[in-house]
């Protein structure tokens, strides 16, 4: 039990609770199938902004979503991963997961949330694929060794090769799917490959939404773009939508002014930490990582990593996690303003780091960084 201030009340049940539910239900069911109109328009404007479109697009987004009958079918395959992106997906707010599932999309197959199981689940997948015209979302990487990952006795790689050619578009969501992520980190024990590598031989290109996990807003952005313009958004050379992945975290970070002024946190639990100084010296990978975290924020706008106090560990980067580990090791090759260094533009910083990390910081670098008993709080 916690300290003397605990205000937890012991709760004794009585049967009247049953009656109370029935009486109280009106208050609790706020027509959950309904998208509240005002909220919905807010969502549309926010989405337009996130997609880099003008406010004028908000009504068009509203129209695309509400008149898209039938709802856009989605087949969501969960492969070698931890289902974290599904978990993130069902935590979506504005639009909420309920709205996404019931009003915007038609999720034909997702083995975490679907009601059917076994044979019937397989049948759902087959029906959706036969009908075609669906967006294929792939969460997780594919083991290249037969038997390392199966669903209904079929290798995951074979399933993808069967389903992908029938899809309108293929979206790889999360780092496992885009670049094999954590389970594919050195030494890549199950020989994982990314969606892009799996589909290359079939001549199928895909959208990459890296992130560990990737936020559902990014997926919604891609789908809406498709509904609005009947095409996929502009992609960079790594298959990432430019509207989300053009800028580095560092370019958009609230703590950037501290970086420029040379005000850094040197260890956790210090006054500099309380003042919200720049986390670069704590290993922040913001200068190296491209992504929209500071602008989209996470979990109903509650926060995001650096705002909460954590150095970015670079989980949206296409080389995550080996290029970022050790996570608390300071990035090499950044000139720090305020320390006699040259004032680097964010762009330049990003490029320098890209080159530095291309060499690959692996287990050896981790060993060097940790040797000598560095302070737990810093570098």
């Amino acid at each position: 039990m916690s300290g003397g201030l605990a205000v937890s009340v012991c709760y004794i049940f009585d049967t009247s609770i049953f009656e109370r539910t029935w009486n109280m239900r009106g208050g609790f069911i706020r027509g959950l199938f309904d998208i509240d109109r005002r909220d919905f328009l807010k969502f549309c404007s926010a989405t337009a902004a996130m997609m880099g479109l003008s406010e004028a697009y908000a009504p068009k987004i509203a129209e695309a979503v509400t008149t898209a009958a039938p709802r856009t079918p989605v087949v969501w395959l969960t492969l070698s991963c931890d289902s974290g992106c599904t978990e993130m997906f069902i935590k979506a707010k504005r639009p909420s997961a309920a709205e996404l599932i019931l009003d915007v999309l038609s999720v034909e197959f997702n083995d975490t949330i679907m009601a059917a199981a076994g044979e019937q689940a397989e049948e759902n997948l087959k029906n959706a694929v036969d009908k075609g015209g669906f967006i294929l979302v792939i969460e997780g990487a594919m083991p290249t060794k037969p038997g390392y990952g199966t669903i209904a006795g079929k290798d995951m790689l074979d399933i993808v090769k069967e389903v992908a050619p029938k899809a309108l578009a293929v979206v790889a969501i999360g780092s496992c799917a885009t670049n094999t992520g954590i389970p594919g980190a050195a030494p890549n024990p199950s020989g994982l490959i990314s969606v892009t590598d799996a589909l290359k031989p079939l001549g199928i290109a895909n959208v990459n939404l890296p992130g560990c996990p990737a936020d559902p807003k990014l997926l919604v952005g891609v789908v809406l773009n498709y509904l609005l313009f009947k095409k996929l958004p502009d992609l960079d050379e790594l298959g990432r939508p430019k509207m989300f992945y053009a800028k580095t975290i560092h370019e958009q970070c609230e703590r950037r002014s501290h970086f420029e002024a040379g005000r850094f946190v040197e260890a956790f639990g210090t006054p500099e930490m309380e003042k919200g100084y720049c986390l670069y010296k704590m290993g922040c990978k913001g200068p190296q990582t491209h992504g929209p975290c500071p602008t989209i924020r996470y979990n109903d706008n509650a926060s995001w990593c650096i705002l909460a106090g954590a150095p970015c560990i670079g989980c949206l980067d296409m080389k995550w996690p080996d290029a970022q580990s050790p996570f608390y090791g300071r990035l090499a090759g950044v000139s720090i303003p305020g320390f006699g260094g040259v004032q680097s533009t964010a762009d330049k910083v990003g490029k320098v780091l890209g080159a530095a990390t291309a060499i690959g910081i692996g287990a050896h670098a981790a060993a060097t960084a940790a040797k000598g008993g560095k302070k737990g709080g810093g570098e």
Partner: protein, 531 residues
């Protein structure tokens, strides 16, 4: 005798296959098999120890926070550092959100569809305008012909017992619960930056920003979730249970229960004084709690795809994978078989609540006794050893945790007010050391064993909740907990094995974390098909 294979089992995290033998309308024997392998222990080797808590979070997208905390506690054991009181409180709050989110999600989205017939809700007679609206929307949804996640389930199965009106009410709560599990996650993001994959619980303490404004934001979100648990989830459990009382006699299993304890007492740090304390209950020897320790754990590999060898403690754990073929008479899964003093143990909310109850934890006692009385089985806690008991335990635990979280938040605010804002303790990473973290994920007992050499990780072993529950037989042929719990389960129609799903779902299996190391170089893996 009919042989039935269900693959994939859905509404769990990860990939599980189940093989059962049915005779005379009942399950006669069962085999559970994890069908996906990753390899976290290999990935961790040679890395900075401080990266482990971030990497191991990615073992499981449903309980990442629990892995983070277990890993961090094991590293603190290695580093010989004790986190400050405020850090313990904040970790309890972040972990608490994880429990609330996970239990709500499990109750309404992973488990409820085994009991709630969505199609039957269409024929509910109601004049309540809110319910009429939900029903209308549901009808439009069904009429559109795009049933999405509700398509092709076992709707209309005779084992669905709720009247249409209760089904309709439950469907409306299914949707509301989607919002509430997201709200619980958002509350934890106030401290952790995001959820899943919390960012602020490294060894030494916490590195989140803390002030009264953030405390208010957190409380605002937490209170919404608490109100939902009190006013919807608890009443739903009590409303639905009377229709399924026969499930208090199904799925008992071995009835051995283990809890490492979770929600550390910020003052004493004694795991036997945690909100949900440490202990084991062997029901066949009576409902009493016994002390337990990590030295009692062994892992047996007789029936998993690993080289045979003696069962050893995870601290000496070796993992030598060797895929042969899927053969229920020999090896049939990637899960090892963990044992406590040689016994298979069930872990999860029921195990924790029983250990708390039998340890005399007052809140657990009043909640459980009150529920038993409300359901007309006062004074008979043994009915909890069942599918229905597992469901009730999760609901009651959610209530207990939510209430306690309000208390911890108040304590945090009081500490800040009294000038104690310490959040972090400095430390050095030792050259050589080893440590153990023992804690609980929503799904049950979780242990991380680390070994450090030359300031980097030399070895890392995890014994995770679902491995305890979903493990295969051991060398003595004793079944794993889920396998055992399935024995005797009635099956009305082998083509629609709804009853089997109920037993499996009651354990909330999460296969993402069961499968451990596989060495890519050792052997060829053959594909299997089961007829």
């Amino acid at each position: 005798m009919a042989r039935l294979v269900i693959d994939p089992i859905t509404r769990i995290e990860g990939h599980l296959k189940l093989d059962v033998e049915i005779e005379g309308g009942k399950v006669k024997d069962a085999w559970t098999s994890g069908t996906l392998f990753r390899g976290f222990e290999l990935i961790l080797k040679g890395r900075d120890p401080r990266d482990a808590w971030q990497i191991t979070q990615r073992v499981c997208g449903v309980c990442p926070t629990s892995h983070a905390h277990t890993s961090t506690m094991g590293l603190e054991d290695s580093f010989k550092v004790t986190p400050p009181e405020n850090a313990v409180i904040l970790r309890n709050l972040i972990e608490g959100c994880q429990f609330l989110h996970s239990h709500i999600l499990w109750f309404y989205h992973l488990n409820a569809l085994d009991y709630v017939d969505v199609v039957s809700a269409l024929s509910a007679k109601t004049t309540d305008p809110a319910l009429v609206a939900v029903q209308g929307k549901l009808k439009t949804f069904v009429d559109s012909g795009q049933l999405g996640p509700f398509a092709n389930a076992y709707w209309g199965h005779p084992a669905y017992k709720l009247p249409p009106e209760v089904n309709l009410l439950a469907v409306s709560h299914y949707l509301q619960a989607l919002e509430m599990q997201a709200e619980a996650a958002a509350a934890s993001a106030v401290w952790g930056g995001r959820m899943p994959m919390t960012m602020t619980s490294p060894p030494g303490g916490v590195n989140c920003m803390v002030d009264l404004d953030l405390i208010a934001q957190f409380l605002f979100r937490l209170k919404k979730v608490q109100a939902f648990i009190d006013n919807v989830m608890v009443p739903d459990t009590l409303a639905i249970a009377p229709f399924y009382l026969d499930w208090a006699g199904i799925g008992k299993g071995h009835a051995n229960f283990l809890s490492w304890g979770v929600f550390t007492d910020p003052k004493s740090r004694d795991p036997y004084k945690s909100l949900l304390p440490r202990g084991a209950v062997y029901a066949s020897e009576g409902l009493t709690a016994q002390k337990v320790g990590p030295e009692m754990v062994t892992e047996d590999t007789t029936r998993g795809w690993y080289k045979d060898g003696p069962a050893v403690n995870p601290a000496q754990g070796v993992t030598d994978p060797e895929y042969t073929s899927y053969d229920t008479n020999a090896k049939y899964t990637w899960a090892k078989s963990p044992r406590l003093n040689g016994k298979p143990m069930e872990v999860g909310a029921l195990a924790r609540m029983l250990v708390a109850y039998t340890s005399g934890q007052p809140t657990a006692q009043s909640l459980i006794n009150g529920t038993l009385t409300a359901l007309g089985v006062g004074g008979k806690p043994e009915v909890l050893l069942s599918v229905l008991g597992r469901i009730a335990a999760r609901t009651l635990e959610a209530k207990m945790v939510a209430d306690e979280m309000i208390g911890w938040t108040t304590a945090l605010a009081a500490n800040l007010g009294a000038g104690n804002s310490k959040l972090f303790e400095q430390y050095e990473i030792p050259d050589k050391s080893s440590g153990i973290g023992l804690w609980e994920a929503p799904r049950g007992a979780l242990g991380h064993w680390n070994e450090i050499d030359g300031h980097v990780l030399k070895n890392y072993q995890m014994v995770v909740p679902t491995t305890w529950n979903v493990c295969p037989r051991d060398e003595k042929g004793v079944r794993g907990p889920i396998e055992e719990a399935l024995i005797g389960t009635p099956v009305h129609d082998a083509k629609q094995p709804l009853e089997i799903l109920r037993v499996v779902h009651s354990f909330d299996p999460c296969l993402a974390c069961t499968v451990h190391v596989i060495d890519p170089d050792t052997n060829e893996v053959r594909k299997f098909r089961v007829s």
